[in-house]
Symmetry: C2
Subunit: 161 residues, 2 copies
């Protein structure tokens, strides 16, 4: 029987694991993967002062998914969900929902009242938008042509607690 | 006759000048002033790789105002206007409009098609919102209680060119 575990303290192997997860999804460009990896490195280098918090989900010690989130500077109780990724081999088992739920509890435990997530309006990101909408996020804003022509920025928020 | 000049290459004195300008406005909290100063320091340390571009407006060699802006990573042609400040002794002469206009030309010259500015919905920021609205910015989104309860984030955009 496989055991799912959460870990929040990044270790030296995590940049590699995150790179592997982001590549495995087939979803992120090489440039996006680099940014995702760099945030783990930032955290390893600068600790909590980096502003980047993580939840690593592991099954039998192997990485299955992770979230990267953090408090939004200048706000009283807003948090950003920067990244969420699940190993595609493990998708369809509700792991993303579990990982998000655990992350939300941690945000709320740190005083967070709202969790923000941004994504694109394009077809590629339909599963992402459906995921957010099925998990209690509400579309609160939309910036036309933000990423590129006909590629809008979708601003989601979830009220916590 | 006083001479207004623009300068875009930050020099060692600029963090101090920016700190002085931000304090003089009486508008920014000490924490906000520190952030504004740190962006100039970032730029001096890391050059253009910092992502922070500046326009310093000077009259007879003295700082009168400045903008801090930069391309938005992950977007094709979006730029953020991070900061704009004018010495309060010099306000009411249209210098803010001139400084913004010069900055917009520089953004457009670097391929920017849209300039984004964010501010708060509270009464304190009414002059800021009026300034943006009088200078061609349009309110495109609003995130409720973003900064704090009853302190919404106002998302403005200006189409360039």
């Amino acid at each position: 029987m496989a055991t799912l575990e959460y870990r929040e303290e990044p270790v030296a192997k995590d940049p590699e694991h995150v790179g592997w997860l982001l590549a495995a999804t087939g979803f992120f460009t090489p440039e996006e993967q680099k940014i995702g990896i760099s945030l783990v490195e930032e955290r390893l280098l600068h600790g909590l002062a980096s502003g980047y918090l993580f939840v690593f989900m592991e099954e039998d010690g192997m990485p299955v998914g992770y979230t990267c989130y953090g408090p939004i500077p200048g706000t009283l109780d807003g948090f950003d969900l920067y990244w969420i990724a699940i190993d595609p081999k493990m998708q369809g088992r509700g792991l993303g929902r579990q990982l998000l739920g655990f992350t939300e509890k941690r945000v709320f435990g740190q005083g967070g009242k709202r969790l923000y997530a941004e994504t694109s309006s394009t077809g590629k990101y339909l599963p992402t938008r459906v995921f957010y909408e099925h998990n209690g996020f509400v579309l609160e804003g939309r910036l036309a042509d933000y990423y590129a022509p006909r590629d809008d920025k979708m601003l989601y928020v979830k009220q916590l607690g």
